[in-house]
């Protein structure tokens, strides 16, 4: 087990190292952030001084070397725009983003799995067809469009919910205050629609495949009641592959907060990364991508460990 963990850890470090190099190189090639940072009337002297101050007047190799030295000290460099350590800038906004993603994932699972089961039991019933058509719309609608329509209806026309910003924060989240919840509803819904539909559809397909297996027929043949056959024998089998999907999709959710946060002016990392890409703020972009890939790696690891508990066939 320990060997397995170390192996995985080593592999992830290599992947993150490669990612940092590629992103660093891309951002180096992308252009000169100084043009964007200085006022239009800046002199040539200002430009040179600023480039020197930011350390971007060096060769690529020198810059990357400096970056690696910083990494060894647990520092990913200072943001060009904010002048603070890039990691701090990202971490400051991470709770807001994770809050959206986690809530959206919980919402998707809570509704996606039961609806998927319902649609699988009698696939030809009218309600199954309605569920399936709605889920098809769910995977067909871009999330920015969902967000827009929600704002149009619930903020502009009805005036029930605030259209932008994060509400009052208590402890680390805004989910504990009434104001915070009101601000959360639409962004979370927007972010979950696609995931909910996807989880629903995968649950349904999984259940339908499992229900045709011999062991389900044998369970029925030995007199196990129908509801136990469906909700215990079949569900236990079809939930196992879902764990992987949910793991992968959580990473996608975090990425899609970029769109949600843009629409709802949510002060998280999604908005930060869009701004930073446009400002060529390399340290922030590198820090953000490394954190995202770390989250990906961590989730994959958790999924693998979970598997050893829920699937008796898998033993590390």
């Amino acid at each position: 087990m320990l060997k397995y963990i170390l192996n995985r850890l080593f592999h992830s470090v290599i992947v993150m190292f490669v990612i940092s190099f590629i992103v660093f190189f891309i951002m180096f090639k992308a252009g000169d952030p100084v043009q964007l940072l200085l006022p239009p009337d800046a002199t040539q002297q200002d430009v040179i001084e600023m480039r020197h101050a930011l350390g971007i007047d060096q060769s690529f190799i020198k810059q990357y070397e400096a970056f690696l030295k910083n990494v060894a000290k647990g520092n990913l460099g200072n943001s060009f725009v904010y002048g603070q350590p890039a990691l701090n800038v990202v971490f400051e906004r991470l709770p807001a983003t994770l809050e959206l993603s986690v809530l959206a994932m919980i919402f998707s699972i809570l509704f996606g799995i039961p609806l998927g089961i319902i649609a699988s039991i009698k696939p030809k019933a009218w309600y199954s067809k309605v569920i399936m058509f709605l889920s098809l719309s769910g995977i067909s609608v871009p999330i920015f469009w969902t967000g827009m329509i929600l704002v149009l209806v619930f903020s502009v026309l009805l005036g029930w919910l605030p259209s932008s910003g994060r509400g009052e924060v208590y402890l680390f989240t805004s989910a504990f205050t009434w104001d915070g919840i009101k601000h959360l509803i639409m962004p979370v819904l927007t972010l979950s629609f696609f995931q909910l539909a996807l989880i629903l559809r995968l649950t349904r397909t999984g259940m339908m495949e499992v229900m045709m297996q011999d062991y389900i027929k044998l369970a029925t043949a030995k007199g196990v009641p129908r509801r136990v056959v469906v909700y215990y024998h079949a569900l236990k089998n079809s939930l196992i592959p879902l764990v992987t999907v949910i793991g992968i999709q959580f990473g996608q959710l975090v990425a899609f907060t970029i769109v949600t946060e843009t629409i709802f002016a949510w002060p998280g990392t999604g908005k930060l990364i869009i701004d930073s890409i446009q400002n060529l703020d390399r340290p922030i972009v590198v820090a953000y991508l490394l954190i995202i890939s770390f989250i990906f790696v961590a989730i994959n690891f958790v999924v693998d460990v979970l598997y050893t508990f829920i699937d008796p066939r898998v033993r590390v």
Binding site: I19, A30, I139, W145, M148, L152, M212, I258, V259
Partner: protein, 284 residues
């Protein structure tokens, strides 16, 4: 006609929703192929636009209203549909070709070729697709061709993985082994024996991913990193209209959004049905 007697085709037509999707999709393709026949004006031709027509709500002349430049929304949508479809199809064809070839090679030869291709795929898959596309577009700037390439770079991985998996299982099967025993060349086996046996799943995946590509393009354009507004796709039209959505000019973004939704739903209806037919595990 032989085609309509094919069992799979008959099965496809038994599902009313799927047939509806197909009809709508064909209709939209016709619109996109001959946009000038269906539109009131050429939305790119500035000489046809008059500022006094700006922000007209839907009326007899401008069925779906106009934008701030006095451009007819319906005409812009028809031309936008053309670009959205083009990006979806072109990027899918490109990524299928590239991804599938690499996947076949990777799966068939194994060894270091396999290692390299799959390592690249692994690293790419440890990132959400949209992020990769975003960074590429941020670097290159807007443009239709650039979007197509960005989406191809993101999507080839999925086909490569599928193809590799299929080859790994197919190459152990009897027909491939016997072709090998008969002295067929590696390329001969891949392209004349294995490839035909794997086209069905690829067609299904590709259909679903055309829809994904169209959504990805729209999302990039919405974030201002996709197709420029000078030659707008449905996504860029929505993005453009979004800026005035809360000033009350809802038709600028709502109508292009509805069309985008109809387009993607119709493709997904077709893809869904095809997948159900092709999936023998769900057959009763």
């Amino acid at each position: 006609m032989q085609f309509f007697k094919n069992e799979l085709v008959v099965e496809f037509f038994e599902d009313k929703l799927a047939v509806g999707g197909l009809v709508i999709f064909i209709f939209l393709c016709v619109l996109a192929l001959f946009p000038s026949l269906f539109s009131y004006q050429n939305p790119y031709d500035l000489t046809q636009l008059f500022l006094q027509n700006s922000f007209q709500p839907p009326n007899h002349t401008f069925w779906l209203g106009t934008d701030e430049q006095g451009r007819d929304i319906f005409s812009a949508m028809v031309y936008g549909l053309r670009i959205s479809l083009y990006v979806g199809l072109a990027s899918t064809i490109l990524s299928v070709t590239i991804g599938y070839t690499l996947g076949l090679i990777s799966g068939y030869y194994g060894g270091w070729v396999d290692t390299i291709i799959m390592r690249i795929a692994d690293i790419q898959l440890s990132f959400p697709a949209i992020l990769i596309a975003l960074i590429i577009m941020a670097l290159w700037g807007e443009g239709i061709g650039k979007v197509v390439i960005a989406i191809t770079i993101v999507n080839w991985v999925y086909y490569a993985r599928t193809a590799r998996g299929v080859v790994l299982s197919e190459k152990e099967k009897d027909y491939a082994q016997s072709a090998k025993a008969l002295g067929m060349s590696n390329f001969g086996i891949i392209f004349s024996e294995i490839l035909p046996n794997t086209t069905a799943p690829i067609i299904v995946i590709a259909t679903v991913r055309i829809a994904n590509a169209i959504i990805l393009e729209a999302t990039l354009s919405f974030l201002g990193l996709g197709v420029p507004i000078t030659e707008p796709s449905l996504g860029s039209l929505i993005a453009n209209g979004y800026q005035v959505l809360f000033s009350g000019y809802w038709w600028d973004s709502v109508f292009p959004g509805v069309l985008l939704m109809v387009l993607v739903v119709s493709i997904n209806l077709i893809g869904d049905r095809m997948r159900d037919i092709m999936n023998p595990r769900l057959k009763r």
